[in-house]
């Protein structure tokens, strides 16, 4: 048993962390997340140059040959800086679908593009009525000539305003919520019949409602049997998002502890009050548990489906509960200043809140875990 990172992995972490410390400061973040674009276009190019987008992709497809551990490292550091760029939708989700389900031609084209930073993808899976069931789909796809024609509406597609292509889940057969009959498609944003409504999210990302009206799509994986593929890729995305959450939690724990040492009330630093000490210890415990379970799911992603799914749901639940506690208490212990838009604390709290919803809430994953046990 060995939980240590390799030298290359440590170097990777250091290079991400240094780049973000120099170029992705909170003051800069405040500016570009409020700009029209919602991000600074330079960063994605730099992420590509630093090899971050290539890190988990196989060498034969232009990647650096890493895997989920590399994504964990990158997302943990991204979480610490509240990075808004769509690493998970593009590299983890997009890359995952092509890696596990793509044809050889798709793999060499798309994995190469992802690694080189030539594409941004968005994952259009949620629907207005579907909640967290990945098979609860009203969006349909019908075979038409060599491709498919897609109809339907996708809700809250994170990163869609920046994306050039969407990965879309749709029903090709069976009834609503049937496990069979689900398929995955690649749809160009500029394809005929695709319309978007863009908006900012409460945690300073960008998202869109995406509508498909007879839009042309290309199948990824096998028709009608896409659900196992979707579950696998979403579990991988959950692992990466949990890593992001631990990055957020780390900043909140450290910032709160530091603040409690300097903020004085009643003549002493508030960190001297035992009630607050214990609270901060609990924050720290939640963070450590989060790191552990994120490692667990990351190392179990290659196991058989049920085992992998249980690990992903366990991680989601642990991070959901921990992230909520850490976020709320970080604001509470900071007091009024923690409520302000000007301080970074509230923004981490907001991101953690929304990460609990992403790919299914704590309750959803408790049920999924129980159903698999």
């Amino acid at each position: 048993m060995d939980f240590s990172y390799t030298e290359e992995q440590t170097l990777l972490r250091n290079s991400v962390s240094k780049y973000l410390a120099d170029n992705y400061k909170f003051e800069q973040w405040r500016k570009f997340t409020r700009s029209d674009l919602g991000r600074d276009a330079a960063h994605w190019k730099q992420f590509a140059e630093l090899g971050l987008l290539a890190a988990p992709i196989a060498e034969e497809h232009g990647g650096l040959g890493g895997g989920a551990v590399e994504s964990l490292i990158i997302m943990e550091e991204f979480g610490k800086a509240l990075v808004v760029e769509p690493y998970v939708p593009t590299v983890v989700v997009g890359g995952g679908f092509f890696k596990h389900g793509g044809t050889d031609a798709q793999k060499s084209e798309w994995l190469g593009k992802i690694a080189a930073g030539e594409t941004m993808l968005a994952f259009a899976f949620a629907e207005p009525k579907g909640r967290y069931n990945l098979a609860d789909l009203s969006t349909t796809a019908k075979k038409s000539g060599s491709g498919y024609v897609i109809n339907g509406q996708k809700a809250v597609v994170i990163g869609a305003p920046w994306a050039d292509h969407f990965i879309v889940t749709a029903r090709t057969a069976g009834g609503q919520r049937d496990e069979k009959g689900v398929s995955v498609f690649l749809v160009a944003k500029n394809a005929k019949g695709v319309s978007v409504r863009d908006y900012p999210t409460v945690d300073s990302l960008r998202a869109s409602e995406v509508t498909f009206e007879n839009a042309e799509g290309t199948l990824i994986g096998t028709a009608d049997n896409g659900l196992p593929l979707i579950e696998q890729v979403v579990d991988e995305a959950i692992a990466a998002s949990c890593a992001e959450a631990t990055g957020c939690m780390k900043v909140l724990v450290d910032t709160t502890v530091e603040y409690s040492k300097t903020r004085k009330q009643f003549g002493v630093p508030i960190g001297k009050f035992q009630a607050l000490q214990h609270r901060m210890v609990d924050m720290f415990v939640h963070y450590e548990q989060g790191v552990s379970i994120t490692l667990m799911v990351t190392l179990k992603l290659a196991e058989e489906a049920a085992e992998r799914a249980k690990a992903a749901s366990a991680a989601k639940v642990t991070i959901g509960k921990g992230g909520r506690f850490v976020g709320q208490q970080a604001v509470q212990i900071h007091g009024g200043i923690g409520m302000t838009d000007e301080l970074n604390v509230g923004h981490y709290f907001k991101r953690l809140t929304m990460l609990d919803t992403l790919f299914g809430s704590t309750d959803h994953h408790l049920k999924r875990y129980a159903s698999l046990s």
């Binding site: 009525k129 809250v156 919520r177 998202a207 009643f266 009024g336 929304m354 919803t357």
Partner: protein
Amino acid sequence: MDLSFSPAEEAFRQEVRAFIAEAKPKLPKGLGAAESADRSKEDYLAWHKLLYKKGWVAPLWPKEYGGTGWNVTQRYIFNEETANAEMPTTLPFGLSMVAPVIFTFGNDEQKKKFLPRILSGEDWWCQGYSEPGSGSDLASLRTKAVREGDHYIVNGQKTWTTLAQFADWIFCLVRTDANVKQQEGITFLLIDMKTPGITVKPIIVLDGAHEVNEVFFDNVKVPVENRVGEENKGWTYAKFLLVNERSGIAGVARSKKAVQRLKEIGEAETIDGTPLIDDPDFARKVADLEIDLAALEFTELRTLAAESKGHMAGPESSILKIRGTEIQQRITELTVEAIGYYAYPNERGFGDNAAVGPDYAIGAAGHYFNMRKTSIYGGSNEIQRNIIAKAVLGL
């Protein structure tokens, strides 16, 4: 002991309902929604003015100053009916914070000058208590007032001043003696916001709203006649106000309505085609909330009943603050959970266009973020626990 309402009380309820039915169409649209929405001064005052015309704007004041003279049950009925109808709330700073201080400790001139204008809504008040270095430890405040002839010269800074951007007056705790025990050198001043030397700077909070401010005082001249009570006795008046603030803070009637709204969302949202409200996990959480709320309601009723028999609210009112705010926060948290992905869109990003998602989702996440303030303001919940530990349990 009796839980039922008398025929006279039922008649009063009908009177309140009739008034609400008549008043509601006169209010600007959308006022019943979450309190954190950005509103104009006129919007905030619309309900106040209708109540004033009816003579119902000050349920907590003695009749001689324009109060309603209602008993505890009538106040309970009024709160319940207005909350059920989702009427806006009146702002507490004038009506329930400074006014009781003025009619309890102020002189006749102050009563004559200020109370009618608070009642009518002509004067907007804000609260100058917290300072950057004095939050929970309020008595450590440093804003200084130095007596010069007929005036105090005030220098310093207040913060978290709610809606100071609209205020005509601010009631302020200032330090008039730095050489005695902290609590013994504080004075309670009423300051005209138009006085030269006052600057108001906005603070934007987590949901993007301009709700609080910093207020700076640079050699601000305040006439001595604007001092309430005695010099250096301000802490007594400040504490009186804080106890009042706490007992109003439970918000039981509003929380009951919010739980009802939450259940409606639970009916509308689905899991695999089944209403969310039928999901055992969700149903259990809602039930848990309702039960805690019922216990809080009866705790509040016990406090009010004791008050009506002449027992002033004491340190036990901290229970109402702690539980009331925790419940408010759990409701907003569970609302976000119920909504799912449509909690993501930031409603401020749509300009004049309609937001996406169901109506009840609009602003829900922002409201959850905003309500984190409730366990911080009015004496943080940690401070309330200290109060109970010391003053009630004798620890």
